[in-house]
Symmetry: D3
Subunit: 244 residues, 6 copies
């Protein structure tokens, strides 16, 4: 099974190849033995995603990457941003590659583990709140807990980041969250989720691990997204002349 | 008051300048006397929007157009697509221009007129359904009623289009819709909303008229979107170096 | 366009003609140039509305006033109480005059500006909470923030009123409100909404301005409330003999 | 225990004393042995309630009747209209008499009997739909089923009325209703609820029986409505000078 | 009318006959004069119910007791545990005996008394939260307030229990609860509900009193649960051979 | 990784060992290469589960089996009934074995694949409807589609079963279901899910495959259910003397 984790921006340029490789190593360590996992970044797109504006910037390069991934025979593509930018568009366009968003996957898996969840993430949370609404999980959702550190600085002082995440998580637990979801993929690769679970006393759902697991289970079960929800764009299929 | 209606694609190329001018004339006829209204299209973007993929294509040219509109002193920008693509990103970026989406405006105005509404639109409806969810109007929403005619062909045979829209609208009324919302901007400029209201027996909300009215009232009241919901992207404001 | 703002009680007697005139001047300053706006009070009804009981007292004089307003050719009637007393009954009875309630209008316009809202108002809030439910906006609604000053005393010490409203508003923002709605029409005429917006950091929706704007846009668009929701009372239309 | 069932209109004049007495006999036959039950109508108010307008007309005479009932030592007052007009206002005003609305009582009792319910009633249903929303039972509510017979004509041909009610009820059951609620008090006194249950195959909740039962149980348990929800009107309690 | 209150465990062994008799005396004092009320416990089952595991243990002895109760001609069986364990199964199996759960009854009666409610109970609250969801009253539900005293120790120091319940109740009121529901049957027999109401300022709903009242009213109205919701188990009715 | 699929009843006696072995073979074929999967049935419990009563019968033998599975070092236990009987109780009791219910798992995975789902199952659906509510997925849920064949007869004529399931599924799709979930574990082992997907045009989620995949991903991610939701029963942990 071939799974590709796509970072929606030029991380090898902005942060460096080592970080891309580190994430690939971690994902491989979390995968089943028969999974062939690769991480790739994209030539353009935002340096990091901290606004809806940057989410929108990430979509065109994702769309551009899709045909190549399909040609390679990739079974599942994970979009490496918690708010699932581009997932719906990619699902409309994809012919054989399953597209998975870590945000939807993590929130539904959190729902299997407990009665309610909160999301520890970075500002601004509007896109995350809208994802909770479109996943229709708002009645389980306690709130976001915000960590005010730039995404690209989360690893600068992991101890400080951990403390800020603990504070945000504990405040959510005090308000009723029975599960914590990490709402930022850079948090997912800090290797602190189990320690955060010990600190907060509730399960901490890592969206990278869980997106991988959901991709695996859907590929194994032979499942693709519903064409009733994500039909192919009509101008690309029915009539001559594309929209581009 | 200066209001700009922006068509998110190169309509003057694909359909022709006359159609752009016709829409401008209609909008002017619907505006208050002190409104200076102009319609403009964009140099790139999709020929029409019939998929989430095409909505995403429309966002970068909208973002690119914003600084010019702000420099011109435009008070309000109406994004000319019912599903409100790019509205959230534009609101994050805008400093003085109010951004209005016709979909949210039309659904909330429909809610003032009756207890429930249905939306007559073209396939595919997933983006529209998600807008209903993020506007949190799903408990008023009966369903979409689909008219299977390409957007660019809606004016080819207005009589046939009207009949198809009537069928869709009457089916929604039979299922409990007390108001009909037109869910496609090309439908909004067909000048058939009052006739459709007479046929279906319920109010038909025209998203172009209503987006204009909401823009007017917000400008008059001096209201801008909440910065708590739509903060400026941090990398554009707090730190050197843009995400682009 | 003729719009009438009706104060549901004998304000010219209890508070004085000057206050009625002051409100008329403010509304005129907020209206589009082609709007002919008048304010009128009613010969009977409560001195102010601070209970559901008083809301009910306001309805018969509103109903009695309707035929005269229709005969005068009034295009839109705004009921000058936030909880929209009598609006549904008036809509059933009206033949050509559009009836607008400021509460529903303000809450739907607030929904266009941000993700959630709170309402700063005077006790008791049960009617306001029920209006939130019947408008089906409870999933956006944070809570009411109560200012414990009698309605007729709000202007006695505007500074103190402003401070109490700020405290209530800031508490709502701390609990997640991204927009504040003023939930009392006497608050709407204090001319402090923009200052309150500056203090709380979120948009403050003034129900008087917004009800006026919604009335204008609906009249311009030729829209009336749905007869499927508000049919004429059968005994007044189908059979001889009225219910009164 | 003294329970008073108040018909909100001059039924002894419009329909006659015999009908008032018949309803009293039925209610007595449904009550516990220690209940002293009386039915009374009011000197003014609508002949029947088939619109929100008429519901509003019913409130002032109900309010006027309250002090006398309290002086008589009535333990519970049942408002004899399914949509519960005036119940909230009466609860604000009442000092020792419990006020019960048959609509809320019947919908909550229906919820104890099955997973979902539909309401068989007469047009127009908007007030009933709003009651479902304010009782927050909309997720259990299938729909109304309308019987297009004037309220005052329901007993003219009971067989025809029963057939129309059966048709409406069976249609609701086919759409998922697991319980039927009679949504009109004149239907409640037709003595056909058990026959309708046999015909439709689901329990039929009679709002007159159930309002009586809820009044009994609340009086026995010493329960009054929450003063947090229904505080006394401030001008009647705190300050000199009433609103009337 | 014969009503049986069944304690789902061997209370006469674990706590003693006197407590069973005390509860019977209290229930009789709360019943209408024509009610023949008896309390009985069961030979097996948990000593007290403080977990979902113990709720499940309580169901088989309840099921075993049902045929005897039906043979005795019992009109209504009240399951003496707030979370209503076994009520759905018993309703499927019962042929003539009405089965009432105090949790559903108490939450719906609380809904008749005020706009929102909180539940004062003992840990763990997951079963109670799920009952709120299946009763679909979550939009009225503020939260549980937990009293960390073992169920079998609630009467050891009633004063301390009362203070702990008051603290929990007042905290719920501060968070918006307009009614308090006692969420544990051992709390219902402490005879402190009216005192708790005086302390918290809101009505306190006693599930024992209310379950009794709901049972009475349903028996008087001749109502049984919907067979559309609770059909008889097919293997017990249609085919030879039981599942046991 | 050791995963145990537990059939909650004596299937080897009632249906035979061959069927147990057949299900084990299928589950092994669906698992990742490093999963050690075994199926086991229980010495007592219902022959099949077609009622809430039978679900309750299944719980005590499941509880009795848990200590042995924990002693064996089983990583995850899948309860082999769609309505997830006993899952909450087992989660309270389990110390190291993850407990997974196929119903919750299947509905959340269906939510990842499309906007709405329907459930094809056997009567009676009340427990399934309640599971939808406690999973808080009712706003995505279209309805159940019932196949009126006894569970133990589903394999007697697979062609007829397939046609009945297709009819039920197509009816759900016509009412808006964008994904179909199989709501009965005996349906999950019919090996017809992909054929049913082809027939209905939407993804068909197999709860056996998906429960297995969710168990795998949670074990790989080191996740256990929240102790805030499922605390250990206090009498088993804090105090001497068990409830049994």
């Amino acid at each position: 099974m071939q799974i590709r984790y796509v970072i929606p921006g030029p991380m090898s340029d902005t942060v460096g190849n080592a970080e891309v490789a580190r994430r690939e190593d971690l994902l491989r360590s979390w995968a089943a033995p028969d999974v062939e996992l690769r991480v790739q970044d994209l030539p353009t797109g935002p340096a990091s995603i901290e606004s809806i504006y940057e989410e929108q910037l990430a979509v065109p390069p994702l769309v551009d990457a899709l045909p190549g991934l399909e040609a390679e025979g990739v079974d599942a593509l994970i979009v490496g941003c918690f708010d699932d930018p581009g997932v719906d568009a990619l699902r409309e366009l994809a012919r054989r590659t399953l597209v998975v968003g870590p945000g939807a996957a993590a929130m539904h898996v959190a729902s299997v583990l407990g009665g309610s969840f909160g999301i520890v993430t970075v500002p601004s949370p509007t896109a995350t709140r809208k994802l909770v609404l479109t996943e229709r999980l708002d009645t389980r959702f306690v709130d976001v807990g915000l960590v005010d550190i730039p995404v690209l600085g989360l690893r600068d002082d992991v101890e400080a980041t951990f403390e800020a995440m603990s504070d945000a998580g504990q405040a959510l637990v005090a308000r009723g969250a029975e599960v914590i979801v990490l709402g930022c993929m850079s948090m997912a690769f800090l290797e602190i989720d189990h320690e955060l679970g010990a600190r907060t006393g509730v399960p901490v759902v890592n969206p990278a691990k869980v997106a991988l697991g959901v991709a695996e289970l859907l590929v194994r079960a032979g499942q693709m997204p519903s064409r009733a929800t994500f039909p192919p764009p009509p101008k690309l299929t029915n009539r001559a002349g594309s929209a581009r």
